[in-house]
Symmetry: C2
Subunit: 348 residues, 2 copies
């Protein structure tokens, strides 16, 4: 007798069309599929998971770039599942490193249950004395991005003068706090008065400013960095990078995590002050967190004690239910999230 495969309902979020910029709620739609909660015997190395938390991150956007070779971000294509980081519980596994009951974080899909076949960025969660949702943020990809960018690319030392653009983002907040813990002078830029206040009052930045209120970014940076910048953690590129370049100190480092100001332009802005790197022996280095995941255990050794001892502040904005995922993603991009934007699907 053939065993009849039992399937369960699987709610999903899909892209409605190609998304070429920041995704809006209307760019996505909900659908329901079915899925078997047991992997077939041919599914070698695959892992079947129940998605608990889904993460909304700034890289989750379309880009104007049509050249596949230089495309950083996947473009959402019509009727494809939204892909993103999440925290999951393993329900079935054909992978030697994962077993039923394991908690993991990594790249999954926006649905209730997922079969994960690309497992090279899937991490087992060994420490559950901290909220599981943290593994979408401070203990996950954004945390590793901040850690790798600041320590490995920035090579900071005590007393360094550190400037962070998009400082209110999940990565920027952590970079600033890591820099403060190292004894650096830290200034961040953000896009609202409220964010500026929170950076100073809650996250311990020495100074912060609202870039939208500044007429001359060069003068702004000279005001906050009369002695120059040692590390510029760049998330935006464009005019802010121009201003930072002329305010760098000798042998300064520009850590490039992103250049969000450039992605939607038909032609990127020419950077005139690049030549100044010669006069001051500047290093500009762009990086991706994927090249640093081998440091994840070392990262946890650093960050977990900071969290347990309350030395790092971390704020989440948790939307409940997959159906509220599209709105949460839009809110993250429009700056309306009041902390790291997470979508809660199930608590276990």
């Amino acid at each position: 007798m053939t065993k009849v495969e039992e399937k369960v309902s699987n709610k999903q979020v899909l892209a409605a069309s190609y998304i070429t910029g920041n995704p809006k709620q209307s760019d996505m739609y909900l659908s329901t599929s079915t899925i078997s909660l047991q992997l077939s015997s041919e599914a070698s190395n695959a892992v079947l998971v129940k998605n608990l938390y889904l993460s909304c991150d700034p890289y989750m956007r379309g880009t104007k770039t049509t050249d596949n070779k230089t495309r950083l971000f996947y473009s959402f294509s019509p009727d494809s599942l939204i892909i993103g980081y999440g925290v999951c519980k393993v329900l079935d596994s054909k992978h030697p490193d994962f077993r039923k009951g394991d908690l993991v974080w990594g790249v999954t899909k926006w649905e209730e249950y997922s079969v994960i076949t690309i497992t090279d960025s899937l991490f087992k969660i060994d420490h559950t004395d901290v909220p599981l949702s943290y593994y979408t943020g401070i203990l996950g990809m954004p945390g590793m991005t901040a850690y790798a960018g600041f320590y490995e690319v920035g090579v900071p030392k005590k007393g360094d003068h550190v400037f962070i653009s998009s400082a209110f983002g999940a990565v920027g907040q952590l970079v600033g706090q890591l820099a403060k813990l190292m004894g650096c002078y830290v200034v961040g830029s953000a896009g609202s008065k409220q964010k500026v206040e929170i950076l100073k009052s809650k996250f311990g930045f020495d100074e912060a400013f609202n870039y939208k209120e500044e007429q001359d970014l060069d003068a702004t940076l000279k005001r906050y960095f009369p002695e120059g910048i040692d590390i510029y953690f760049d998330n935006v590129g464009g005019d802010m990078l121009e201003a930072a370049l002329v305010n760098m100190r000798r042998r300064g480092r520009i850590v490039v995590a992103g250049m969000i100001s450039q992605y939607d332009l038909d032609e990127p802005q020419g950077i005139k002050n690049l030549v100044t790197i010669i006069y001051k022996q500047i290093r500009i280095e762009a990086f991706t967190v994927y090249d640093y995941y081998h440091l994840y255990p070392k990262f946890l050794d650093t960050i977990l004690p900071y969290i347990r001892e309350g030395k790092i502040t971390y704020v989440e904005d948790i939307a409940e239910g997959l159906e509220n995922g599209p709105a949460a993603l839009e809110a993250m991009f429009t700056g309306l999230s009041s902390g790291k934007q997470v979508v809660l699907l199930a608590s276990e």
Copy 2:
């Protein structure tokens, strides 16, 4: 009785005016001064030398930059001695590290005899089985620049695809040969058909091209680097940098030794392709040889055997007599020198 100080005649080359670009013969003039060949007892840490060889190097030019803080190159000012690297013999010393009879290389002045007070970049010459003049080039500052830029900044590995602009220059020639010795694929650009031929036939470059004959540098680089560039050793900046940026491989390194195309512009060229560093995790690093002189002994251990074993080709163009120095310097800048341009003052 007071001892009468004996002085000898001292021929010198001075700047006739401020020099804001490449120096021409007419920007300099000859004069004769006198000098005592004994240091006074107050001249602590100074060294009195007889200049044997003087070096003509591309950094010896004026710049439009008037901001002293970002000025890379000294501007020549009216009636000041031309300053440059040279090989010298110590005639008297109040410095503990140098004694009469020592041969040294480092920063000196364009005159027969000099008192050197800034001795932190003065190196004793211990190996005289190679021509002394080599210490103005392959065994001196240009050699150290090539070595530090290629090995320390470029971090090359066997099989890397290496592109060098201004490849015919003293630094570029050596970078190319070091890269070949490491097992890299090496392409250089130069400004004449003859230089291109010599790069290939004499210096062992895999390929070379005359940038003046190329209409579309992006297409040119795609032709020579269909799989992309791992290391771009940049001496020119501008359009060549734009083209290199879009042809870099993932995690490629752009080693910036200079951006000669930009120094004489009223406003530097905006670099539009800088944003591509994000897509491919590129590092751009500008350096100065001064930060790497501590590696000089290690450098000699690498380069001296290559020279002795004939594994590196090195060509000099030696002008005789200080009075021919200004013409030699102009020739170096106009590309007329047939090798590393040196001025011979005295053979010992």
